[in-house]
């Protein structure tokens, strides 16, 4: 499972979020891995459907536990900025767990 979580998915599981930057505007960001999602959510102004993200984690990465934790975090979130941060923290934690298990290089996101 750890390897799956760290892997890239195929085009059929492509996720699209947005990175907002003044002037350049809301840039659509296609993502193919949880690592890319974490990177987007770590930025200053990410936008995406976080419910759909939890579904994607379950369906594309087969990580039901993470998806369940995300859904619980989303329910607790006071607003979308808060929800984004909570979900990002969960994803970062999961990535770290998986890297340790697989011996992949540690990164900070």
């Amino acid at each position: 499972m750890a390897a799956k979580v760290l892997s890239e998915v195929g085009f059929e599981h492509r996720l699209v979020g947005y990175r907002l930057s003044p002037r350049t505007g809301p840039m659509a960001v296609p993502m193919y891995s949880l690592k890319e999602v974490a990177s987007l959510l770590a930025g200053p102004h990410p936008r995406m459907d976080l419910d759909a993200l939890a579904d994607w984690v379950a369906a594309a990465l087969i990580d039901e536990d993470l998806a369940k934790a995300m859904r619980a975090a989303l329910k607790k979130g006071k607003h979308n900025e808060d929800r984004t941060r909570r979900v990002h923290d969960l994803i970062a934690l999961r990535l770290d767990q998986c890297r340790r298990l697989t011996g992949a290089p540690a990164e900070v996101s």
């Binding site: 492509r14 947005y18 003044p22 505007g25 995406m48 607003h79 900025e81 900070v108």
Partner: protein, 525 residues
């Protein structure tokens, strides 16, 4: 005293201003641009390729004179007035509501901040939006060249590395339009993920996508475009045309995989389905408008709503302040109603017309900076009314000695806009060509429910609010009706969009009318 060549021996210590093309322009790429210093480019439209076709590499100018000012004291007074009344207090920095997310850092740089970089500004600017870094990488780059590879770099490495700066510098070294490169980069990556593009694939491309996010990948990608090597020859034609060569254009424009909504140009990211004044202005013109005058109406409320806060100022106050400044349509607040119910209305047609006229004169001719003008809402002043309307003529008249009013400038802008349409008409334009890519009509703009994030002013149940614009597309038939409204407003014939003789004569463009008449392209009436 001006020293002649005899005295100087033809030498000078002055720094030349150079506008040049890079290897992409030399090879007539449609994605090539003209580059000046760092962070300044004439990007869209393939100007670099045009220069290359004319065998023109660069223009270098050394100033030998001065710019005469009719009223230097008046200009200085205008500057101090703008700075004291409307600019941030540099001794008491605080985030202002309608600012671009705070001003403690360069406004227009989207890679991660570096500790050893200082703010830099164009001469005379009272704000500043660039930076100079200790390592020289990416110095003075702004906007899209800083966004080009920042995301890919961060996604790969977990943090910003020099890859983003090196990629931005490479864009400028090769002389390639940043938006085209950015959209193309993600498009080819999507095609690689689809399994149709890559080494030995249907679209044979030597790029090693396992290196996506590394500096060498960006360099290799840009080099392909610049040197037209192999598949780079397709890339160099622009990705709209590349997709056609690959037999994918129709399908990818339908799905939105190729995010090129208008005139074969990539999305600027202010989606035409949401921020309609941008999309309409672009499709009714000839290129991405790249004029950010109304973006604050999206940025501020959207960020506040996402953070669970009620945006301030309230929508009604915001639109009334701005509407008061939209001469010659001043007072029509419905021009700023972006709701679906109003997006095809004559009010919106007036907003688009105002925008085209304002930018044709006050920005594209007088060259007021898009970073700072117009100043509609300014939270540094009580009542929040910015300096637009008063500021534009004040600076202009101090320099020129003219007595131009803001409204007179708008009328000049209208004249220029009509001249542009006349030129396009002579080139063969007809209203039937003025249409978006299919996905704008058929695919809803992403985001819905609680995660809808594109907020702009609009009326909801008769009351002003910041309404969410995700989830909608443009209705093809209604947009055609909108075009008719717009053409009528502008005095162009609604059947074809051609300027009418009466309109051109009103604008002292009788000669233009004659030229159109000779080519049987004059709108009747």
């Amino acid at each position: 005293m001006t020293l002649g060549k005899e005295e100087t021996g033809g030498r000078t210590t002055q720094h030349p201003a150079v506008l040049a093309i890079g290897p992409a322009g030399e090879r007539k790429s449609r994605a090539a641009c003209l580059i000046h210093d760092a962070g300044n480019a004439a990007g869209q439209g393939g100007f670099g390729g045009v220069w290359g076709a004319k065998n023109l590499k660069a223009v270098s100018v050394i100033g030998s004179g001065s710019i005469p000012l009719t009223d230097p004291a008046g200009l200085m007074k205008a500057r101090l007035w703008a700075q004291e009344k409307y600019a941030l207090n540099m001794d008491k920095l605080e985030r202002s509501w309608f600012s671009w997310f705070g001003r403690r850092q360069p406004q227009n740089r989207f890679w991660a901040a570096r500790p050893n970089a200082r703010l830099a500004a164009c001469v005379g600017c009272h704000q500043g939006c660039k930076e100079r870094a200790h390592d020289g990488l990416g110095s003075e780059s702004t906007c899209v060249e800083t966004a080009f590879y920042g995301g890919a770099d961060q996604a790969r490495h977990g943090k910003q590395t020099s890859a983003a700066y090196l990629a931005g510098d490479a864009l400028q070294k090769y002389g390639i339009n940043a938006y085209e490169a950015l959209r193309g980069l993600y498009y080819v990556r999507d095609l690689n993920k689809l399994g149709v593009l890559g080494p030995g694939k249907e679209i044979n491309c030597p790029l090693d996508f396992s290196r996506f996010g590394e500096a060498d990948f960006a360099e290799a990608f840009l080099r392909l475009i610049a040197l037209r090597e192999g598949v780079g020859d397709d890339f160099a034609e622009g990705f709209f045309r590349a997709a056609k060569r690959w037999g994918r254009q129709e399908a990818d424009l339908k799905s939105g995989l190729l995010a090129y909504p208008y005139w074969g140009l990539p999305e600027h990211s202010y989606d035409p389905r949401a921020e309609v004044e941008w999309g309409y202005g672009t499709i009714l013109g000839d290129r991405d408008i790249n004029e950010h005058d109304f973006n604050a109406l999206f940025w501020w409320p959207s960020s506040q709503v996402w953070a669970g806060r009620a945006p301030q100022p309230p929508a009604q106050m915001t639109v009334e302040i701005i509407a008061s400044k939209l001469e010659p349509f001043a007072g029509d607040a419905s021009m700023l109603d972006y709701s679906t119910e109003n997006m095809y209305s004559e009010h919106m047609a007036k907003l688009v017309a105002w925008h085209r006229r304002y930018t044709r004169f006050w920005k594209q001719s007088v060259l007021y900076c898009d970073q700072r003008w117009p100043d509609f809402i300014n939270t540094n002043v009580p009542g929040y009314k910015g300096l637009t309307g008063e500021g534009e003529p004040r600076f202009f008249n101090a320099v020129t000695g003219m007595d131009l009013t803001f409204g007179a400038g708008m009328e000049l802008g209208r004249r220029i806009w009509n001249l542009d349409n006349a030129i396009w008409t002579l080139q063969g334009r007809h209203r039937n060509m003025v249409k978006f890519a299919d996905y704008i009509y058929t695919a809803p703009f992403q985001g819905e429910g609680g995660y809808a994030w594109y907020c702009m002013p609009g009326k909801k149940n008769g009351a002003w609010d910041y309404v969410r614009l995700n989830g909608r597309s443009i209705d093809r038939a209604k947009f055609e009706a909108f075009k008719t409204l717009f053409y009528t407003l502008e005095g162009w014939h609604p059947e074809n969009g051609w300027p009418r003789e009466s309109t051109l004569k009103t604008l002292s463009l009788g000669r233009v009318a004659q030229a159109l008449k000779e080519k049987n392209r004059l709108g009747q009436g």
